[in-house]
C-alpha cells in the first residue's frame, strides 16, 4: 500500500495531485466526471476583491501541443466567492477536497485584503474547505507601476510579506516562468514568509491568423499551457528545488503519470493537472493511479520518497 499523502507547506493533501487554477472552475463544475477522492486539492480560479469582467472574445486558440488563453481572470469578487461559491462547492462535492484559493489584485493592499478575508472565512463552517492561498504574481493582467509583480524580486518580496501578515493559511506563491533566473524570486518568496511555491504559470504567447493578418486573441497575447510547456516547467522546478527547501506544487503539461513523476523527481512535492482536464476530465485521477503504480513497481513506499529522488 503506497502512502499518497503529502504536506505542501502545511497544506495536508491526501494525494499529491491537485487541479491547476483556471482549469477547474471553482471546484464543482466537473462533478460527475471524475472521482474527487483522487484529488489532494482543487485550486479555485483566480479571485480578487471586486468583480472583474475578463477580456474580450476570442479568449483562446488551440495550438499543437497546447492552448493559448487570455481569459483575463473573469470573476465575481471575494464577497460572492465566500457567500455563494465556496458553500456551493462544499454542498455539491461530498468530502470536498481542500481548496487552494488563487488570488490576485491590482495593488499590494488588494492582495492583502483578499488574503485577510480568506483567512477569516476559512475559520467558519461555511467556508471550511478553504485551506490555502495561492498568490498569483504572474498573470499578464496583474501590474504595478508597469511591472508584473512576479517580474521584480523586490516588489515580489513586498507583496508576499504583506499577504503573509494577513493570513495564517498555508501561503503558496505562483511564480512566472519568463524570468532569466528563478532563484532571486524564490528567495524573495522565502524571505517574505511563503510556505510553498507553485510553478509554472502559462508562458506568454501569441497566435496570428495569417489570412486575416490579425492576432487570434482579442487581447493580442495570451498564455501558453499544455503538453508543449512541460519540459520547460520541469527545468524550472528543478532549478527552484535546488535553490530552496520550500515545497513546490508543480504544473505545466501534466497529462499522464509520467509527466507528474518527472516533476516529483525534479523536486516537486505535489503536482497540478491543468489543461489536460479539458480533453480528459478524469486526467487527474489517472495521473494518481499511475503514480501509485510507479511507486509499487520501483519499491517506493511513499510518494514523498520520490521528491527530488533523481539517481
Amino acid at each position: 500500500m503506497v502512502v499518497t499523502k503529502v504536506d505542501l507547506g502545511g497544506l495536508k493533501m491526501a494525494t499529491p495531485v491537485a487541479t491547476a487554477s483556471g482549469t477547474f472552475g471553482y471546484g464543482f463544475e466537473y462533478a460527475g466526471a471524475l472521482d474527487y477522492s483522487s484529488l489532494g486539492a482543487v485550486t479555485a480560479k483566480g479571485i480578487r476583491l471586486d468583480p472583474w469582467p475578463g477580456n474580450a472574445m476570442p479568449r483562446h486558440a488551440e495550438v499543437p501541443g497546447g492552448l493559448v488563453n487570455a481569459i483575463g481572470l473573469q470573476g465575481t469578487g471575494i464577497e460572492h466567492f465566500l457567500d455563494i461559491t465556496v458553500p456551493h462547492y462544499m454542498a455539491q462535492i461530498p468530502d470536498a477536497p481542500p481548496m487552494i484559493v488563487n488570488i490576485w489584485g491590482g495593488s499590494v493592499d488588494e492582495y492583502a485584503e483578499v488574503a485577510r478575508r480568506l483567512n477569516e472565512a476559512a475559520a467558519t463552517a461555511e467556508c471550511a474547505a478553504i485551506r490555502a492561498i495561492e498568490c498569483n504574481v504572474s498573470c499578464p493582467n496583474v501590474k504595478e507601476g508597469g511591472h508584473t509583480f512576479g517580474q521584480d524580486p523586490a516588489v515580489l518580496n513586498r507583496l508576499v510579506s504583506a499577504v503573509r501578515a494577513k493570513t495564517t493559511l498555508p501561503l503558496i506563491v505562483k511564480l512566472a516562468p519568463n524570468v532569466p533566473d528563478v532563484r532571486p524570486y524564490v528567495k524573495a518568496c522565502e524571505d517574505g514568509g511563503a510556505d510553498a511555491l507553485s510553478m509554472i504559470n502559462t508562458i506568454p504567447a501569441m497566435v496570428i491568423d495569417i489570412e486575416r493578418r490579425r492576432p487570434v486573441l482579442a487581447n493580442v497575447t495570451g498564455g501558453l499551457s499544455g503538453r508543449g510547456i512541460h519540459p520547460a516547467a520541469v527545468k524550472l522546478v528543478y532549478d527552484a528545488h535546488r535553490a530552496t527547501k520550500l515545497p513546490i506544487l508543480a504544473m505545466g503539461g501534466v497529462y499522464e503519470a509520467k509527466d507528474a513523476i518527472e516533476f516529483l523527481l525534479a523536486g516537486a512535492t505535489a503536482v497540478a493537472v491543468g489543461t489536460a482536464t479539458f480533453s480528459d476530465p478524469s486526467a487527474a485521477q489517472k495521473v494518481l493511479a499511475g503514480i501509485v503504480e510507479y511507486c509499487e513497481r520501483h519499491g517506493f513506499s511513499s510518494v514523498s520518497d520520490l521528491v527530488g529522488a533523481l539517481a
Binding site: G25, E29, A31, P53, M57, E62, Y255, F278, D280, P281
Partner: protein, 259 residues
C-alpha cells in the same frame, strides 16, 4: 453529467459535407433535453486536443444523435470515426430550450442549427403542443437538413435558400416575417426558438424583442471545457459576460447583447 465511453452506433454522410453521428449512451440519452449539447473527444486528433461541442439532434432509446458539418480540423478528424468505435462523450451539457410554449412555436434554423430544433419539436409534440412552424434556411437546397424529419413530426415547414434552389429565395427570416404578420393580424401569440449562424440569430432575437414575444436563442461558440470551468465561451448578456456552455447555449432573446 457523465463522461461516457460511448460506442458509435452509426456515422453517415448525409451529403454536402454534413454527417450524422449516433452514440450509444443510455444514461446520457435518458437525461438529455432539447438544446443541450455534448462535448466529444475526437479519437483521430492528438490526445491533448480540445474536445468539440455538438448540439443534439435527438436522444432516445439509449442513443444520442448529433448532426455536424465538416468545417475545421476537429470535424475533419471526426470523419474517420466508424460504427463500433468507442468515443468519449461528455454530457448532457448546458441549458436547453424551455419545453413549453404559449401560442405558436416558431422554430428558426439555419444549416446544422436545425439539430436542436428537431429535438425540441419532438419534445413539444410529445408534450401535446401541436402548433409548430419550422423555418429552415440555408445557402442552397443541400444545406436544408432534416426537412422530412420535421414533416414526419407533423411540423409545418417553410423553406428558404439564398439561391432559390428550394423554398423561397432569400433569407429564412423572409417567410418568418410573413408568418409574424399573419399571426399579428390574427392576434395570436407565439414564441421564437432559433439556432444557426449569428446574423440569423440576431435577426430572430431582434424580432422577438421587437414584437414583445419570448425568444429562445441557441448560441454557437468555440469552447474549451464545456462545463463552465474555463470562461472561454463568453456571450455578452445584460448580466455581463455569460458562459455559453452553462448559462447557455440557449439564452433569452432579451438577455443577449450584440456587438
Amino acid at each position: 453529467m457523465v463522461d461516457a465511453a460511448a460506442r458509435v452506433a452509426g456515422h453517415e454522410d448525409i451529403g454536402s459535407g454534413y454527417r450524422r453521428l449516433i452514440f450509444e449512451a443510455p444514461e446520457m440519452a435518458a437525461s438529455m433535453r432539447p438544446g443541450q449539447f455534448v462535448h466529444v473527444r475526437v479519437p483521430a486528433l492528438e490526445a491533448s486536443a480540445l474536445r468539440r461541442p455538438f448540439s443534439v439532434f435527438d436522444a432516445a432509446d439509449g442513443r444520442v444523435t448529433v448532426l455536424y458539418k465538416t468545417v475545421g480540423r476537429g470535424t475533419a478528424a471526426l470523419n474517420s470515426v466508424r460504427a463500433g468505435d468507442t468515443v468519449c462523450v461528455l454530457g448532457p451539457l448546458g441549458r436547453g430550450f424551455p419545453e413549453s410554449c404559449e401560442g405558436v412555436a416558431l422554430l428558426v434554423g439555419g444549416g446544422y442549427g436545425v439539430a436542436p430544433l428537431h429535438f425540441l419539436a419532438r419534445a413539444l409534440k410529445a408534450a401535446g403542443h401541436g402548433d409548430i412552424v419550422a423555418f429552415i434556411g440555408g445557402r442552397t437546397s443541400n444545406d436544408l437538413l432534416a426537412v422530412d424529419r420535421f414533416r414526419a413530426l407533423g411540423v409545418d415547414v417553410r423553406l428558404a435558400t439564398n439561391d432559390g434552389s428550394a423554398g423561397a429565395k432569400g433569407l429564412v427570416t423572409d417567410p418568418l416575417d410573413d408568418e409574424l404578420a399573419r399571426l399579428r393580424d390574427a392576434g395570436r401569440r407565439f414564441e421564437l426558438f432559433a439556432c444557426g449562424p449569428d446574423p440569423m440569430l440576431k435577426a430572430v432575437a431582434m424580432r422577438a424583442v421587437g414584437t414583445g414575444a419570448k425568444g429562445w436563442i441557441s448560441m454557437d461558440r468555440h469552447m474549451i471545457c464545456g462545463v463552465g470551468a474555463c470562461y472561454a465561451c463568453i456571450q455578452k448578456t445584460v448580466r455581463g459576460n455569460s458562459r455559453c456552455c452553462v448559462e447557455g447555449p440557449v439564452f433569452r432573446a432579451d438577455d443577449l447583447v450584440w456587438e
